[in-house]
């Protein structure tokens, strides 16, 4: 009974959660979606590298001044008290991600994610130094010659410079960049140096080496994206009804769309895809597609495909260029896979091949699963409507809140040491500290007064007070309220703070205490 159960870990090492990663050598691609991505890269990285150098009203346009706890974003200044706006903005960003994912898949991943954008630039550098896919693979497989050392060395040098510049720009958002540039590199502060190197190192590692592994293993979004997908979500899809059975052919065979064969029925097409994935052709083997899709349950055996006559073939010529261009190294013909970052490179590649063959474009295209399966697509689904409405409300509220922010915050603290005191005339006095924050970019003057409706004759000791507050300054103003000697018990008072040279007014409630009756 007490005999231990024999145990053994099935996997040979502890890395069972991760497949061993091959290096992916994405082939260069040109086409509409690639142009779109290049435009996105230029625009987004342009914003990142240029914004800290812009000036606005004589100061750096975007400066997140952590040491002074003030964030300058163009004409606006945000203080820690405005944290609500930042958190709302993050909620809006998350909701926008849900909305666009449900609507059109991983648009963010393919075009706007910093990981994609910086990886794209590191790939440009790699191509520029080492050539396209085949040259790079040859170089990696070959011995260490003078040329290999030169090419690899120049790539690493450019990567390092690019990473350092990125780290420098990043720190330039927090520390005035012109000043930082003037102190390059020996007068940088310790923490500035540290963060420049840290961010540079992260860029170098993520964009240069980890690449698609960040998307597959590190990114939380990739792990839960499937919760937002349904059959009406726009995805990058291969049309197996048109493409299968795949195979090389002689020139001159027309597209299935122009032949009597026409589109296959769904069951046959998906069966061909499944069998081709289990019995890859020589070309497929060379392309070495990764990916984790399970096209059928365990134990189901796939029969090899027969040899098809030319007129039976679909439009896919099995050139595997769609696999070669994929930055995550998957075969899109196996269907939607969680590795797919929806960059559209396979669409561009396949369209190019279709053009060469004289076939209509769109064997791989942006489509919904319903569309591919010949059903109607519904764009307006409950989740789209709900996400959309929430997004509209939040964006509207945020815009209103940011544009209608009061330039003034005021709080009152009662003096804790004494409930009340009496001056030489017997008047009852209470002391307070008024905390006043000027959130505007300019200097302003404010008038402080007290209002006590049920205590006639109450005023500040020396009459209404005018104070000056610099931009972003937090003032502590000690004030004393003086009431007539007959006042007893607790009374409500209100402090009114009015802007002299700015339209701002705040009333702060507090209490006034006299002797017990």
């Amino acid at each position: 009974m007490s005999r231990p159960i024999p145990l053994h870990v099935v996997e040979d090492d502890s890395s069972s959660y991760y497949v061993s990663e091959r290096k992916v050598y994405p082939r260069e691609v040109s086409g509409r979606f690639n142009r779109f991505r290049v435009a996105a890269v230029i625009w987004l990285l342009g914003m990142f590298y240029v914004f800290p150098w812009l000036h606005w009203n004589g100061r750096q346009a975007v400066l997140l001044d952590l040491p002074a706890r003030k964030f300058h974003v163009f004409g606006w200044m945000f203080l820690p008290q405005d944290f609500l706006f930042l958190s709302t903005l993050l909620i809006i960003a998350a909701l926008a991600l849900f909305f666009f994912t449900a609507l059109a898949g991983r648009l963010f991943c393919g075009y706007a994610c910093p990981q994609t954008v910086w990886t794209e630039v590191s790939l440009w550098i790699e191509r520029w130094c080492e050539g396209d896919r085949n040259k790079r693979m040859k170089l990696d497989a070959g011995p260490w010659t003078r040329e290999k050392i030169l090419r690899k060395g120049s790539r690493h040098l450019l990567w390092a410079l690019f990473a350092l510049w990125t780290g420098f720009t990043f720190v330039g958002f927090f520390s005035p960049i012109a000043d930082l540039a003037g102190r390059t590199p020996f007068d940088w502060g310790g923490w500035e140096t540290f963060w420049i190197l840290f961010y540079g190192f992260a860029t170098w590692g993520n964009a240069g080496f980890l690449r698609q592994q960040v998307c597959k293993y590190m990114c939380p979004y990739a792990r839960f994206q499937s919760a937002m997908f349904d059959r009406n979500t726009l995805i990058i899809a291969y049309d197996p009804m048109r493409g299968e059975p795949r195979g090389a052919r002689k020139r001159g065979l027309a597209s299935v769309l122009a032949r009597t064969r026409g589109l296959l029925d769904k069951l046959a097409a998906y069966d061909y895809v499944f069998r081709a994935s289990r019995h890859p052709s020589a070309a497929d083997n060379r392309a070495q597609a990764g990916g984790t899709i399970a096209l059928a349950g365990t134990g189901i055996v796939a029969e090899p495909l027969p040899r098809f006559l030319p007129e039976q073939l679909g439009d896919c010529i099995d050139c595997t260029i769609c696999v070669q261009v994929c930055p995550t190294g998957i075969d899109i013909r196996n269907g939607l896979q969680y590795e797919c970052i929806a960059c559209g490179a396979c669409i561009d590649a396949c369209n190019g091949v279709m053009d060469k063959l004289g076939y209509p474009q769109g064997l791989i295209r942006y489509a919904t699963q319903n569309q591919i399966d010949g059903k109607a697509t519904r764009v307006l689904r409950p989740r789209i409507v709900i996400y959309g409405c929430l997004l509209l409300v939040l964006v509207g509220g945020w815009m209103y809140g940011v544009t209608h922010r009061s330039p003034l915050i005021a709080e009152v603290l009662r003096d804790r040491n004494a409930m009340y005191s009496q001056d030489t005339d017997g008047r009852i006095e209470n002391s307070y500290t008024l905390k006043l924050v000027n959130k505007d970019q300019q200097v302003h003057h404010f008038v402080i007064d007290v209002i006590a409706p049920d205590m006639p004759g109450t005023s500040l000791r020396n009459g209404p007070r005018t104070v000056q507050a610099d931009s972003g300054e937090v003032l502590s103003v000690p004030i004393t309220v003086s009431a007539s000697p007959e006042v007893t018990g607790r009374h409500d008072v209100k402090f009114s703070v009015r802007g002299v040279d700015v339209d701002a007014a705040i009333d702060v409630k507090s209490s006034f205490f006299g002797p017990m009756p």
Partner: protein
């Protein structure tokens, strides 16, 4: 088309300890970043210094960085602890020599 015959060269997989280190370091770093942001949005490091170690000359930059690394240390320990708890038992890892002599 002959150039297409090239196959990507074989590569050694990353060692298991590296993958483990990544799985422990990365989530703790991510959470520490978020926590640091929220914490220091409400707490001024200088005010924090004044109520804890007023005699130390800590500036805000040092305060933020120190705070981040302390929080990372905490989340890192938690990740590391989870890893220790989730490891298979010694007998399973090493193949239990006493019990595996079953017929």
């Amino acid at each position: 088309m002959a150039a297409r015959a090239i196959k990507p060269p074989e590569q050694k997989p990353a060692p298991a300890w590296l993958q483990c280190a990544g799985a422990i370091l990365w989530p703790s770093f991510f959470v520490a970043g978020v926590v640091t942001m929220v914490f220091f949005a409400y707490v001024d490091p200088v005010a924090l210094r004044d109520i804890t170690f007023p005699s130390l000359k800590l500036g805000r930059e040092l305060g933020y960085s120190l705070g981040f690394f302390l929080i990372w240390l905490a989340t890192l320990s938690s990740s590391l602890f989870t890893w220790i708890l989730l490891r298979p038992g010694r007998s399973a890892r090493c193949g239990s020599s006493l019990t595996s002599k079953a017929p």
